[in-house]
Amino acid sequence: MTANPPFTWNLIEDVRQLFEFPFMVNALRAGTLVAIVASLIGWFMVLRRQTFAGHTLAVVSFPGASAAILLGVSATYGYFAFAIGAALVFAVLSPAGVARSRTEESAIVGTVQAFALASGFLFISLSHRNITGAQSLLFGSFLGITTTQVAVLAASTALVLAILGFIARPLLFASVDPDVANARGVPVRLLSVVFLLLLGIAAAEASQITGSLLIFALLVLPAATAERLTSRPGMSAVLTVLIALVVTWLSLALSYYNNYPIGFHVTSLAFGAYVLARAARVVTGRLGTAGVVQ
């Protein structure tokens, strides 16, 4: 990476530099797709308070990819097969199914996650892959994204967004008030299964770029930030996507220039935005109450 050109204060020149190399162009394309789909799905995940299930679906991609490597097939199959499989397992074991309560559901989710990660470790050991391989599965790499990968990403993003657009209204209703939605004839349980599947697909797709452990940051942080800034659903969904895009683009540019891992940049920038949003909320809250007192 020493061949990287130095950062200059001529920003237009810098941006032109970024697009010079095909690998950067592919990384930007893939990053954009991942940011859009992960943040939108994450918005619903945060609204539904399903962060634990979301995190688990995200890390399940690690055993998926390592199983695929062990079997000698493309890692993409492994990512999708495991994420969709885990989403179905959750659907069966959810409180509407086997679990007796949300507390028990969380014990199940935790067990599934730990077992999935342990299996990933087993597959890695069985396939005698070197350590660096395992690390790139866990922490991702934006270098060497192929044009085929970008095409697969684009297709699955389109699929997820189309389904999400189709179910968005009833899903929003079912997420905000499941009891009333159920009484009005909204298929709450079916919607929750479909949502988990979408979450699985989005996580599988994003993991290939950000790695299994860091996709969670893109799922939760932009949505949590937007939630602090506005309570209007449409507005906060738009904000979520915007934050995710800006964070991803900036992170790619930063990693290009300073060689620190992209995961560190994505999580730190997104967390910075979240902390700012919280602080702004506290400050405006104080001002608001002060105004009321006067």
Binding site: H55, T103, S106, A107, V109, L221, T267
Partner: protein, 305 residues
């Protein structure tokens, strides 16, 4: 497998296995860690704080790597990070319990920091120590020294004694927070102390099963125990026993099947226990529910008829 076939008598097999120092160490340290994790896990599941356990595992990874990158003993970073963050997570929520979204936001970032430390550490070591990251994530129970075993046993003992000491009020506060608070139980302080103890148990367990897998040792035995009984103290004991059994059976399995890493074997056993408990009870509860339904229908028929 060959070792297993060559020794048909399991008792001789186990005694020959235990003649190795490193395996004896693993059994002693692993056993102590499992009991502490099983006990802490019981309350974690009861209080609906499993996600906090998940977060602490990831924090442990960052703590250990930060210490490695700074050139100090990784255990220092482990304990400082897990205990510090667990108290912070308590402070971020009402009554010492943070919202899942807050927890997720914090640990997503902490994990990103871990990646930074991993890259700093690997670069400073010229790439030769890339295995350190994987060891922290997935554990290395066969690599413990006798000093580490002592530390593990002492830390586990402290955790267990402290948990048992606060068990009664903590149980009360977990089951009915409002009533406990009204009766003068220091609910918030208990929440902090409990999270600190979970942090302690997590940091210690990271050495055995790894930062990513400790969640399983916290969640699976506790979930199994709560499926098997509704009586709190019995469930507490069961949870610790199941965790211990998972640990020891897992270690034996990984010794017998050479290709299984110990942390996978331990979690496979713990997960099987939970799966068996889940498969066993819905059948019974469904039968019971049907029974009850019939009764209600019958009662309704009688009333209307």
């Amino acid at each position: 497998m060959i070792a297993l076939l060559a020794v048909p008598n399991p008792i001789t097999g186990i005694s020959s296995m235990l003649s190795y120092d490193f395996i004896r160490y693993a059994f002693i340290a692993g056993g102590a860690i499992a009991i502490a994790a099983g006990l802490a896990g019981y309350f974690l599941v009861l209080r609906g704080q499993v996600f906090t356990g998940d977060a602490l595992g990831h924090v442990a990874f960052t703590g250990a790597l930060a210490a490695l990158a700074a050139g100090v003993d990784p255990r220092l970073g482990l304990f400082a990070a897990t205990i510090g963050i667990s108290v912070l997570l308590g402070a971020l929520g009402p009554r010492g319990r943070a919202d899942d979204v807050v927890i997720g936001s914090v640990f997503a970032w902490v994990l990103g920091l871990g990646v930074l430390f991993l890259s700093l550490f690997t670069t400073s070591q010229g790439g030769s120590n890339g295995a350190a990251g994987i060891r922290i994530l997935f554990g290395s129970i066969y690599g413990l020294s006798s000093g580490q075993v002592w530390l593990a046993v002492i830390v586990a003992a402290v955790t267990v004694v402290a948990l048992l000491a606060i068990a009664r009020p903590l149980l009360f506060a977990s089951v009915d927070e409002a009533v406990a608070e009204a009766r003068g139980v220091p609910v918030r302080a208990l929440g902090y102390v409990f999270l600190g103890l979970v942090g302690l148990a997590t940091a210690e367990a990271t050495q055995a099963v790894g930062a990513l897998l400790i969640l399983g040792l916290l969640a699976a035995p506790a979930g199994t125990a709560q499926r098997l009984t509704d009586r709190p103290y019995l469930a507490m004991a069961l949870s610790a026993i199941i965790a211990l059994a998972s640990m020891w059976i897992g270690l034996c399995l990984s010794h017998a099947i050479g290709t299984w890493p110990p942390s996978f074997a331990i979690l496979a056993v713990a997960t099987s226990f939970y799966a068996a408990a889940l498969a066993r009870s819905p059948l019974r509860s469904r039968l019971a529910a049907r029974h009850e339904e019939n009764h209600i229908e019958l009662a309704g028929d009688i009333r209307h008829g």
